[in-house]
Amino acid sequence: MREETTTLYLGPQHPGITGNMMVKLQVRGDTVEKAETHIGYLHRGFEKLMERRNWLQSFTIVCRICVPEPDPNEENYARGVEEIEGREVPERAKYIRVMVLELARLASYMLWYGGQAGSAGLYTMGQWSVGDRNYILDLFEELTGGRVYHMYIWPGGVRRDLPEGFGDKVLKTMDYLEKRLDEYDRLLFDNSIFQKRAQGVGIIDPKKAIEWGVVGPPLRGCGIPSDVRKDDPYEVYDKLDFEVPNIDGNSDVWARALVRRQEMRESIKIVRQVIEKMPSGEYYNKIPNPLKWSIPKGDAYVKTESARGEFAYYMVSDGSDKPRRVHVKGPAYVHGITLLENLLVGENIADVSFIMNSLGTCPPEMER
């Protein structure tokens, strides 16, 4: 048996890696002995750019921080500004925001379906779920004008009202998706390849999970039903009826997959309630002239539950027309670096991208 280890660079150019990042692995045979995450391939310096742009111009770039699910960023930014400024948001706007956030969550999970199955070699799943994701993107396109980046939720409300008959279209899409989810179950969760690959791989110690900073689906996969929507309710989540999945599992990739599977159904439930309960009225509390718009001195810490976990903004205003500091912390900042580096030790090389997909490592939000 050979004793020396080999250094293996997984990425940045690698079909299995989740985005433009690199994991430097020390391997003995095909077992990982040490892993080190290298990031910075997507660094754009958002926080610096926002210091140079006024409050409304910054709103247009925040959604670009996280590509698979941009809306939690917009919502965080808008809510942070509102909290510092003390601006009221109309009730209707809050309902519309929740609808957009849940649709974004669904779209993000459908991309995850493709990635998770693709990293196990099951490419049909990606063809189905990414294809069906287009139906949600079509809704976004009708509502906001953009498929990927919406720039829709802004300080004071949302950018425009729902188009006529939009609620029915959303409900129709939800009915379709619900039917498809059963088929996804048959394709992915009943598949013995996926079951064998996912069970017992990438186990997070449930006792340590909170201390390690794990959030979102990986934390719920440990059997800890923690969700910002319940713990620190924002918008109108406290008025809606939904459950946080409580998986009594092994806190492995399989448990995380089950959490996401259940959450998609909960999201569909939330969207239906929102359409039903949507009040009429104003959708936008008009901001003053954006060129003269300055925000009083203060700071705010706001957080949203995105598809990958808690997305938090720490925003500081110094009383001028530009943000003093907007510090963004995405869930992958912890999942992709310290957690991943520790989880990968002892795993097989073939499971590396599988585990990365299950944690939802998303480099643009790690380095911004």
Binding site: Y301, E310, K329
Partner: protein
């Protein structure tokens, strides 16, 4: 502020003030408590909050550059998983030769934040391990997130710019011309030179 609703928050403020004399604590709103403390006793406060008060989830470490005051303000945000409260702990350090206590033995994920702050603000954390190059590669200028770093100047020096079209027109002037109004005084500074 209704005291009934903020029982947990007020108890936390009391507990903090009993434990530490040189500390200002306030309830900002529901589920947000803010405390200001000297950086030398920061690690003991964090340990106290983690071990005694149950704030064992580190959510966030952010840094704000107050260049006018010559200070870096660093905010540590902790989360209580059962009481559902965010505790914001603020500590400051001088901008020149900034040094903050390293806390990655309390929470291991603090290591990532500290490496980023070392690179982006130039704050030193004695005893911090990890690569110097975290996000940037071969950076030779001053740390880019400092307020005195001029990113536009850097871009003009290092990267190319595509010249604009020759027939490009100032939108503001065109709109003003079409509607027959003058450009307001405050908007003039944004006009194309």
């Amino acid at each position: 502020m209704e005291n009934k609703e903020l029982v947990l928050e007020n108890t936390l403020v009391q507990a903090l003030q009993e434990g530490f004399t040189r500390l200002e604590a306030t309830v900002k709103r529901k589920a947000r408590v803010e405390a200001k403390i000297d950086k030398d006793i920061l690690p003991s406060l964090l340990l106290f909050a983690k071990e005694k008060l149950g704030y064992n989830h580190l959510s966030h470490i952010g840094c704000v550059d107050w260049i006018e005051d010559g200070l870096f303000e660093i905010v540590y945000i902790l989360w209580h998983p059962t009481e559902k409260i965010n505790l914001l702990i603020k500590a400051s350090t001088e901008r020149e030769n900034a040094i903050m206590p390293n806390i990655d033995y309390i929470w291991r994920q603090a290591n990532t934040y500290e490496r980023e702050m070392r690179e982006m603000f130039g704050i030193e954390f004695p005893g911090l391990v990890g690569r110097k190059d975290f996000i940037l590669e071969d950076w030779q200028d001053i740390p880019p997130m400092r307020r005195d770093f001029d990113t536009e100047k850097y871009v003009n020096e290092h990267f190319f710019n595509r010249p604009g079209r020759e027939d490009a027109k100032d939108v503001r002037e065109q709109v003003a011309k079409r509607s027959g109004e003058d450009i307001p005084e405050f908007a003039k500074k944004y006009s194309r030179k």
